[in-house]
C-alpha cells in the first residue's frame, strides 16, 4: 500500500556522481616540447592566485630551459629556492659520465632534495602539484620531476582534549597523516610495522594509510580491511568517520564496531594486540579494527598504573554504564508499577517529593532527560568563555528552579544527575547509551520491570549478534574465552597477561612476554659473590 505514495520510481543508481573527464587531454602525457608542456600546465592552473610558475635557464653542460610549478600555499617556497632553484642555476656539480642525459644529471647530481619521483601523465602530475609537490620540467624531456616540498600550516602535537590522562604520554595525533604515522612509528620500531597507502575520495584524494604489524595481525583481517577500503567510492573523505561508516559491519546497529583514538600510545598498543589501524589525513582520529565491546572499558592508564586500583576502576566503569543506562528506567518502573519494591522510608520520602509534581513520572523523566541532553549538547558546542553560563543555567534553573517550582521532584533530578555523570565515564559509546536509555525508559513506562527485562534481553541478544571484522563483539565473554578475562572486568598484572588476545589474532599461542616475568627479590644463592 505504501507503493501508491511513492512519486518517484526508483532510479537505478547512475554514475552521475562520478564525473567523467571533460576532455581527453587529462589522460594525455607530456611531450618533449617544453613550450607545449608549459602551456598545458598554465592552462590547468592559471586561474588560481596561489600558483607559482617560474621559467628560468639552468646551466647543465649547456643552457637549458627549465620550468617549475607549485602552489605557494601548499609548498615551502624557501625550501624550493634553496634546494631546487639554486642548484640548477649554480654550476658546481661534477659529472664525469658524459653520456648521461640532462634529466639524469639533474636527478643524480644537481638536486639537493630527498624525495624525487618521475611521471609524465598530465593527470598524475596535476594531482601531485595539488598535494604540495613541485613539478620540474626540463627542456627536451617528457618526464616531469616531482619533488617533495610540502609546507603548509600544521597544528603542533598537543595533548588531546578527549582522552586526557593523569599518567601516560600526553602527545596526541594531529591532522597530518605524515606526522601521525611518524608518531606511531616512534612507538614501534619494527620493520614488520607496515603502513600501506590508499587514496580515497574522488574529489578530496584523501591520503589513507592502514597500519598493521606483519606476523601479529591476522592476514585475513588485513585483507578484509583492504577489500572494504577499495570498495569505497565517494566524493569526499573529510574525516575518518566517513571511512568508519562505510566499512563497519553493522551500519544499522546503535553500537559502534570500529574503534577510534586520538593518542599514539593507544594505537600502538592496539597494533601490538594484532589490530589494524586506519590513519586518515585531515583528522587526529585514527580508526582501529576489529573493535570489541570491552574496549570501552579499557583505558590506557589502566595499564600504566598498578593493577589493583585499575581493576577496581574497571568494575566502577561497568557499574557506571549499568547506572547510566538503567537508572531512569528503574526509577520509572519502581514508582509507577512496583511501589512494593521500594523500602518504606524511601517510598515515603519519594512520595513526599512527588506530591506536588503535576506530570506522570514517565513524562517527568523524559522532560528532565531531554533537558539534560540539551544542556550537554549546548555545553559541547558553546565557545569556551560562554561555557560557564551553561552550568549556571543547568544547575540553578533546571536543577534548583524546577524542583522549587514543583515541576520535577528532587529524587528525579538526583537520579538524572547520576545518570548523566555516569554516562561520561564511558564516553566512547555515549551515543548508544543515550539511545538505549530512552528505549529502556519507554519500556519501563509501559511494561514496568518486565519491560526493562525485555529490553535487557533485546539489547543483549543484539550485541551477541554483532561482529567486527570477524571478531564477536562481546568476545571474550560471548563466546567465552576464560584466558582473556584477565583483561576485561579486571586488569590482571602485566606479568600474567603473557599471550596476545586470541580473539583478535585468531592464534592460540602467541606469546608476547617471556615466562617468569613476575618480579621478585633474588633468591639467596650460596655460591654467589654477593654479600
Amino acid at each position: 500500500m505504501f507503493k501508491a505514495f511513492r512519486f518517484h520510481p526508483k532510479k537505478k543508481k547512475s554514475s552521475v556522481f562520478a564525473p567523467k573527464p571533460k576532455d581527453e587531454s587529462v589522460y594525455q602525457t607530456f611531450g618533449v616540447n617544453i613550450e607545449n608542456n608549459i602551456n598545458t600546465v598554465r592552462k590547468l592552473f592559471e586561474i588560481n592566485d596561489d600558483v607559482v610558475f617560474r621559467e628560468f635557464e639552468a646551466f647543465i653542460m649547456k643552457p637549458v630551459k627549465v620550468f617549475i610549478c607549485y602552489f605557494s600555499t601548499l609548498s615551502n617556497s624557501d625550501y624550493i629556492n634553496e634546494f631546487v632553484v639554486k642548484p640548477l642555476q649554480e654550476l658546481n656539480f661534477k659529472n664525469d659520465q658524459r653520456e648521461d642525459s640532462i634529466p639524469a644529471i639533474v636527478k643524480k647530481n644537481v638536486l639537493d632534495v630527498g624525495g624525487i619521483s618521475e611521471n609524465s601523465s598530465i593527470q598524475e602530475v596535476a594531482k601531485n602539484i595539488l598535494s604540495g609537490k613541485v613539478a620540474l620540467f626540463i627542456e627536451g624531456s617528457d618526464t616531469v620531476f616531482l619533488i617533495e616540498a610540502q609546507g603548509y600550516p600544521m597544528r603542533n602535537v598537543t595533548e588531546p582534549d578527549t582522552e586526557s590522562v593523569v599518567r601516560g604520554p600526553r602527545e596526541g595525533f594531529t591532522e597530518n597523516v605524515e606526522v601521525n604515522t611518524g608518531l606511531i612509528r616512534r612507538k614501534i620500531i619494527n620493520p614488520n610495522l607496515f603502513f600501506e597507502k590508499f587514496t580515497l575520495g574522488k574529489q578530496t584524494q584523501t591520503k589513507i594509510r592502514i597500519g598493521y604489524i606483519e606476523g601479529i595481525a591476522n592476514k585475513k583481517v588485513v585483507q578484509e580491511v583492504k577489500t572494504r577500503l577499495r570498495k569505497i567510492d565517494i566524493d569526499a573523505i573529510l574525516e575518518s568517520g566517513y571511512i568508519e561508516q562505510l566499512i563497519e559491519d553493522h551500519p544499522t546497529s546503535i553500537f559502534p564496531t570500529v574503534g577510534n583514538s586520538e593518542k599514539p600510545d593507544i594505537i600502538a598498543a592496539k597494533l601490538l594486540e594484532g589490530k589494524v589501524a586506519i590513519v586518515c589525513d585531515g583528522t587526529p582520529f585514527v580508526l582501529t579494527v576489529p573493535y570489541m565491546f570491552v574496549e570501552n572499558f579499557q583505558v590506557s592508564e589502566d595499564y600504566y598504573s598498578r593493577p589493583y586500583f585499575a581493576s577496581a576502576i574497571r568494575l566502577l566503569r561497568l557499574l557506571a554504564l549499568f547506572l547510566t543506562v538503567t537508572t531512569p528506567a528503574f526509577y520509572v518502573a519502581l514508582t509507577t508499577y512496583h511501589h512494593a519494591m521500594i523500602p518504606t522510608v524511601l517510598l515515603n520520602s519519594m512520595a513526599a517529593a512527588e506530591e506536588a509534581v503535576p506530570f506522570p513520572v514517565l513524562l517527568e523523566t523524559l522532560l528532565i532527560g531531554t533537558a539534560f541532553e540539551i544542556l550537554r549538547e549546548a555545553g559541547v558546542r558553546l565557545p569556551r568563555p560562554v561555557g560557564s553560563a551553561i552550568s549556571i543555567v543547568g544547575a540553578l534553573v533546571i536543577g534548583e528552579g524546577a524542583v522549587q517550582a514543583g515541576l520535577v521532584s528532587a529524587p528525579m533530578v538526583i537520579a538524572m544527575a547520576l545518570t548523566g555523570i555516569s554516562g561520561f565515564i564511558v564516553p566512547a559509546i555515549n551515543d548508544a547509551v543515550v539511545l538505549s536509555r530512552l528505549f529502556f525508559v519507554l519500556l519501563a513506562g509501559t511494561l514496568g520491570l518486565y519491560g526493562v527485562l525485555i529490553g535487557f534481553l533485546i539489547i543483549l541478544a543484539h550485541m551477541c549478534s554483532l561482529r567486527s571484522f570477524g571478531t564477536p563483539y562481546l568476545a571474550p565473554h560471548a563466546p567465552i574465552i576464560f584466558r582473556e578475562w584477565k583483561d576485561t572486568l579486571i586488569r590482571a598484572p602485566l606479568w600474567k597477561m603473557d599471550r596476545r588476545p586470541q580473539t583478535i589474532t585468531w592464534k592460540h599461542d602467541a606469546y608476547r612476554e617471556g615466562s617468569d616475568q613476575k618480579p621478585q627479590p633474588p633468591k639467596r644463592d650460596n655460591g654467589s659473590e654477593e654479600t
Binding site: 511501589h339 515515603n348 520520602s349 512520595a351 513526599a352 517529593a353 506530591e355 511494561l447
Partner: protein
Amino acid sequence: MKRVFFILCCLFLLTGCWDRIELKEIGIVSAIGVDRDPDTGEILFTSQVVDPSGLKPDGGGTASAIQIESSKADTVFKAFRDINQEFDRKNFYAHNKVIIIGEELAKEGILPVLDGITRGKEGRGYIWLCVTKGTQARDILINVRKQGIEKVPANSIESMHENTELNFDVAVIKLNDYYKKTLKSGIEPVIGTLEMTEKSTNNNRESFGQSSLRARLSGGAVIKEDKLVGFLNEAEARGYNWVVGEVKSGILSIPSLLDDKKLVSIEIREASSKIKPEIKGDKISFTIDIKSAGILVEQQGSGTLKTRKEQYDYLKRLEKELEKKIESEVYEVVEKAQEDFNSDIFGFGTRLNKKDSKKWKEIKEAWSKDQFQNVDVKVKVKAEISARELLQEPLKSID
C-alpha cells in the same frame, strides 16, 4: 522491518500500562486495625495512611504525617473498599507494618479477619501482628499518633516490637509465624499485646498539651485454636520467652547478697532452651533445659570482696539466685498455660511428635482437650554469670 514495527506498536499500545499507578495516586497504609464495633456489631476497619506532604524535609514539621481513616461494613474486605467513599487515595497495603486486632474480635477468631486482609492483596508476611487489651484497635491507632520520634506512628509500633531484642518482658509475633504456629498441631501462638496506659508523671510531652494516653506493649496474648483466651503478664511473658528460646537480651534483678533489700541487675547475654519429652508407658513428661549466661551490670549493695576466692563464691551464689528466679518464672507460666488457658504455647506437642510420632498420633486428638493439662513439666536451669572484672566495689560516700 515493517512487521517488527507493527509488533512493537502492539506491544506498546495494546498492552502495558494497565496496572500503572502513580505515586500521587496511592495512599501508603502503614498500619491497620480491625475491631468489632461495640454498638452495631459491624466490622470497624481503621487504616493509618501516610500523608506525604507531612514528610517533606522543609516545612513538613507542622503538618501531621498521617491520617486515620475508618469505615464500617459487614465484612473486612467491604470495609476496605468503603474507605474510598470518603478518602481520595487508593490504599496500598504492601508497606503496612502492623495489624492490630481488637480484643473482642480476637476472641471470635483471628484467621477469618486475616483472610480478608491477606487474600490476594499486597500484604506481606513479615509484619507484626498484635491484639489490644482493654481497648479498641482504633483508639490505639489514634492515640499512638504523638508518641515517639518517628513521624509515621506505625514505625513507632514496629520499632517497639523490634525493641524486644533488648527487653524480654513481652512476647511478639510476625504474621507468618502466627500462621505457622496456629495451623500446626501441637503448638499455639502467643501474640503481642498493646494496651493503653495513662502516664501520670508530668513529663515534657504533657506540658506541650499532648495526650497522656500512650500505647504500650505488654506481656502477651495467649491464643487457643485461633481464639484469644487470655493474657500473660510481664513476668509470665518472660517465662514464656525462656521456654521458647526467644530471649536475646534483657535485664533481671535479683537480691544482692551483700546488703539487705538491695538488688543487683544481671544482663542476660545468651540463652537457649531445650524441651525434652520423656515417655514412660502412658505417662508423658517434659523437661525444659534452660541455659543462660549473663553479666553483672549493676550492684546496689555495698560490701567488699577481698580475695579472689570470695569473689568467686559470691558469683556462684548469685548464679544460684538467678537460676531460682528463672525457674520460678518458668514454672509460673507453665502452670498458667496448663491450668488457666489449656493452650500448648510452648510447642510440647511438636516436640513429642518429633521424638515419637506414633505416640503423638495416638494422643493428638486429646492433646488440646486434657492431655496437655496433665503432663508433668520439670525445669532445669543452668545460669552463668561472667565478667568478673566488673565486680568492683561500688562507690561509697564517707561521712
